[in-house]
């Protein structure tokens, strides 16, 4: 699964730490997600989408490995 978290973060002018703080996770989690090393749970994906006010599919998408 890939995501454009980094882009969304830039649009909203948030650091990894800011974003982590807003959704109540550790900064490492955001970092791991941006590097595609961690696939978030549905709950976390929904929280992120809600924060950016977009549908989940606009931020997360399947890639050829899924």
């Amino acid at each position: 699964m890939t995501n454009n978290l980094k882009v969304e973060r830039a649009i909203h002018d948030l650091t990894q730490a800011d974003l982590a703080d807003k959704i109540g996770v550790s900064r490492q989690s955001i970092n791991a997600m941006e590097k595609n090393k961690y696939v978030p749970s549905t709950v976390l994906a929904l929280k992120i989408a809600k924060l950016f006010d977009k549908p989940v599919e606009a931020i997360f998408s399947l890639d050829e490995n899924d």
Partner: protein, 157 residues
């Protein structure tokens, strides 16, 4: 992240203290050959058959024993469990995944090492390996977990 078996973060420091004291004491015991007269005290032995001097089987006897090794073992085990299973400052699903991944890694690594020692190490030396093996799953787990956490921390934006 809701989990029902993790301890509160405030126990972490206590865990580290016990774990490190236990490990240092353990290393010291390895080099002193596991023999000690320190803290000799009366303890309750619920079952004992003298393996070396062919004694009869005894149940529920009070015996004299140095409890340094018992304390060391308990410190390592209890300390290690607390360190491994207390919450991080920010406990979330990613940290939880790192913890479970580390556990899987530690079990597999531990038993690969044990398979190797079963094949290539014999006699009393193997019994010594078994002493280490009481603690290595936990020790490997704690080190692996902290290594992964550290690695995740270091790659900055």
């Amino acid at each position: 992240m809701k989990t029902n078996y993790l301890l509160s973060h405030k126990y972490k420091t206590t865990g580290w203290i016990l774990f490190i004291i236990g490990l240092i004491s353990g290393i010291f015991m390895v080099f002193s050959g596991f023999e000690s007269d320190l803290l000799n005290t009366k303890v309750l032995s619920i079952f004992n058959y003298g393996i070396l001097n062919n004694e009869e089987v005894k149940f529920f006897k009070i015996i004299d024993n140095s409890i340094v090794d018992e304390i060391t073992a308990l410190f390592i085990i209890i300390g290690g469990l607390i360190v491994g299973f207390s919450k991080e400052k920010i406990e979330d699903e990613f940290i939880y995944k790192l913890r479970t991944d580390s556990l899987v890694w530690a079990i597999i690594f531990n038993y690969l090492v044990l398979i190797f020692t079963i094949i290539f190490i014999y006699d009393m030396t193997f019994l010594n390996i078994m002493i280490f093996n009481m603690f290595t799953p936990l020790v490997f787990f704690v080190f692996r977990f902290n290594f992964l956490k550290h690695k995740a921390q270091n790659h900055d934006e």
